[in-house]
């Protein structure tokens, strides 16, 4: 099993505000630290028009990370492909993959916030169909031949991709989804890797999504060797239960109370978005139950459950709980030293 540091977003939240240039300096330090600590990958996440400055442009940051690291896989998870022109994305992929010496992987996502689609003048309702066409364009571009394409959403005449990616034919492609079975099926059908969101979802829910993925891949004739499964989930490891309780109350709850309101995920029964979330609200129970939280032994046991589902890559989101740099570095180290070795016995 591989470990990729998950979902790094460069956010300056109300509960932990930070200066922009400083955050972007830190992400380079954290990626280099993750590489030294033995992680296999480092993933960034994207949103647009977000009050806390959530990074909307992953490829320039990945290009910088490519020059600040030497070994680890770098990837967006997820790059919101339906908002973009696929030929432009193919060019960016090629350049970053070359800058990284072939260490780029691609995690795509559909996106769901209507603000994002309206800001890019894209019809949100057709994003699934658009995505399938975009993957076809990407594969045609990566083929290296001159190509033309006339589809429902995009038309290209006599296009070529230059330069081409370092990896041939192209970097590994993943699709990341929330809790929707349709996304898992789309990934299986298109022969992409699939990354489920463990946050807010039970183990059974993840198992069901993986089953959907395999069923769709079987139907499309995708060989077992070409399938890849991952799970991205908020992870908190601490040596003592007291420490866990402290971090949950001081760091995780305030950040989630803010982000859940901001995303508008929690609604009153009449459909209006909730503007204040009290600590007793049931959503916190659901979230904290889905997180991988505990002492190192407990966390190892939880990850084994994902491993048993056939998960190839575990993406712990170690950064969301606390945006302070020193705490992130200490947490990265603790997880790398206390948890990862249990899964590495045969490899190193």
């Amino acid at each position: 099993m591989e470990f990729w540091v998950g979902l790094y977003g460069m956010q300056s939240t109300r509960s932990c505000p930070r200066a922009g240039p400083w955050m972007y300096r830190e992400v380079l330090c954290h990626a280099a630290a993750a590489e030294q600590l033995g992680y296999d990958g480092f993933a960034l996440t994207e949103h647009h028009f977000w009050y806390d400055g959530y990074c909307p442009s992953l490829m320039p940051v990945l290009a910088a990370l490519a020059r600040a690291t030497e070994r680890i896989t770098l990837l967006p998870l997820a790059l919101l492909l339906p908002l973009r022109d696929p030929l432009r994305v193919a060019e960016e992929i090629a350049v970053v993959d070359r800058l990284a010496g072939g260490r780029l992987a691609l995690g795509f996502g559909y996106g769901y916030r209507s603000e994002e689609f309206e800001g890019f003048e894209i019809d949100r309702r057709r994003r699934g169909a658009r995505f399938a066409e975009q993957i076809a364009v990407l594969r045609a571009a990566f083929g290296g031949e001159r190509f033309s394409h006339a589809g429902e959403f995009y038309r290209y005449h006599d296009a070529t991709l230059a330069p081409r990616p370092w990896q041939r034919p192209h970097p590994p492609l993943w699709l990341a989804g929330g809790s929707q079975a349709a996304t898992a099926r789309r990934a299986g059908q298109l022969g992409l890797g699939y990354c489920a969101a463990g946050t807010g979802q039970s183990l059974d829910g993840v198992a069901a999504l993986f089953a959907e993925y395999h069923a769709a891949a079987d139907a499309a004739g995708v060989p077992a060797s070409a399938r890849r499964l991952g799970v991205a989930v908020d992870t908190l490891v601490a040596r003592h239960p007291d420490e866990l309780a402290r971090v949950i109350e001081e760091d995780i709850v305030p950040v989630y109370a803010e982000q859940l309101v901001a995303f508008g995920f929690v609604r009153e029964p009449d459909g209006t978005p909730v503007r204040e979330l009290p600590r007793q609200h049931p959503i916190f129970r659901v979230l904290l139950d889905s997180f991988v939280i505990g002492t190192p032994e407990e966390v190892v046991a939880r990850i084994r459950q994902f491993e048993a589902l056939g998960c190839n890559v575990f993406m712990p989101r170690l950064v969301e709980a606390n945006f302070r740099s020193a705490a992130i570095l200490a947490h990265l180290r603790l997880f790398a030293e206390q948890v990862m070795p249990h899964f590495r016995a045969g490899r190193r």
Partner: protein, 333 residues
């Protein structure tokens, strides 16, 4: 006089981004003011893809040098360009110079099925949207080519279409606005540099030069085969700038110029040296010619292109260093 360098990445057959990075580091160490990246797509003999992504990598590779990116406005959504530029500015701690390139060659337009006649109007819209996205807390835009947000009901509340204080009551903090109808787009993050990264306009033609002058932005003159035209074109720019009441001190007239330096090892009869428009000579001759150009045009920044056909990568790197050592100090005296 400021000095810059144009970076390119080899040929389509052998694109060499590592060499480009090395040259960026060398220019940073040698004390150049700026480096510049262009944008060309497809199997061009000198490909230059996605300058803002390459600039992101150079932000990590360099410390002081300003990062100039000449972005083709026609081929990407303006909001995406604004976001990418802001992120590169943050990554580089405020070192981005934004070059707006309203041009596109016929092949690039043909790939995307775009027509040439609407090209300029489209680029002006894009540039307006980009600058507002950097500076306005929230903005709505209705133009010929873009309506942002797509479902907006907002009519511009001021001439710029920006949301202005005080907001219509009741006031709701941005972080609590989710689920409410949104008539304005709040593009984040904002760039590091205030009010926004300096804008340069690639002066392909009189229309783009007029645009630069009207907004008080600096022009970049691309390399031209007839350098004799340059004084006349610069003069037209200065007159247009004066006509709108802008000050000369706010802009930097920039010229991209192919340079060949004779240092004893370069073959003075090489094809590159004899090409019209190439600044070729010994360091002292080049100093003279640049000073003359400065006198004739009000030149504020020269961007050297050392990576010319027939010049090896090693020779280009030597030229970079020798220009920094022998030419640059004499220009600043």
């Amino acid at each position: 006089m400021r000095t810059g360098i144009l970076l390119t990445c080899g040929t389509a057959a052998t694109p060499d981004l590592d060499a480009l990075m090395a040259r960026g580091r060398a220019a940073d160490g040698a004390g150049y003011t700026s480096l510049w990246l262009g944008e060309r797509h497809g199997d061009h003999e000198r490909p230059a893809p996605v300058p803002l992504v390459v600039a992101g990598a150079l932000a990590a590779e360099t410390e002081d040098i300003l990062l100039g990116a000449m972005v083709k406005l026609a081929l990407e959504h303006p909001i995406k360009i604004a976001e990418d530029a802001a992120v590169v500015d943050l990554l580089s701690r405020g070192r981005l110079l934004f070059g707006a390139d309203a041009g596109a060659d016929e092949r690039e337009l043909a790939v995307y099925g775009r027509s040439r006649h609407e090209q300029h109007a489209r680029c002006i819209e894009a540039l307006d949207i980009i600058v507002r996205s950097w500076t306005c807390d929230g903005h709505a835009y209705r133009g010929r080519h873009h309506t942002l947000p797509a479902q907006t009901r907002a009519l511009p509340s001021d001439a710029m279409g920006c949301r202005v204080e005080p907001y219509a009551p009741p006031y709701i903090d941005p972080w609590q606005r989710s689920g409410l109808p949104f008539d304005y787009l709040a593009v984040t993050p904002k760039p590091a540099r205030l009010p926004h990264p300096p804008v340069f306009v690639v002066a392909h033609d009189s229309a783009s030069m007029a645009l630069a002058a009207a907004r008080g932005w600096s022009p970049i003159f691309p390399p031209c085969s007839t350098p004799e035209d340059l004084p006349a074109r610069a003069d037209a720019y200065w007159r247009a700038l004066e006509a709108v009441g802008r000050s000369r001190t706010d802009v930097v007239l920039t010229v991209i110029c192919p340079v060949v330096l004779y240092d004893g090892t370069t073959d003075a009869s090489a094809e590159a040296a004899r090409t019209p428009g190439v600044l070729a000579g010994t360091p002292l001759e080049v100093v003279d010619r640049i000073k003359r150009l400065q006198h004739l045009t009000g030149l504020g920044q020269i961007v050297c292109d050392f990576d010319l056909p027939g010049i090896t990568a090693d020779a280009a790197l030597r030229a970079l260093e020798s220009f920094a050592a022998d030419v640059r100090p004499r220009l600043e005296m």
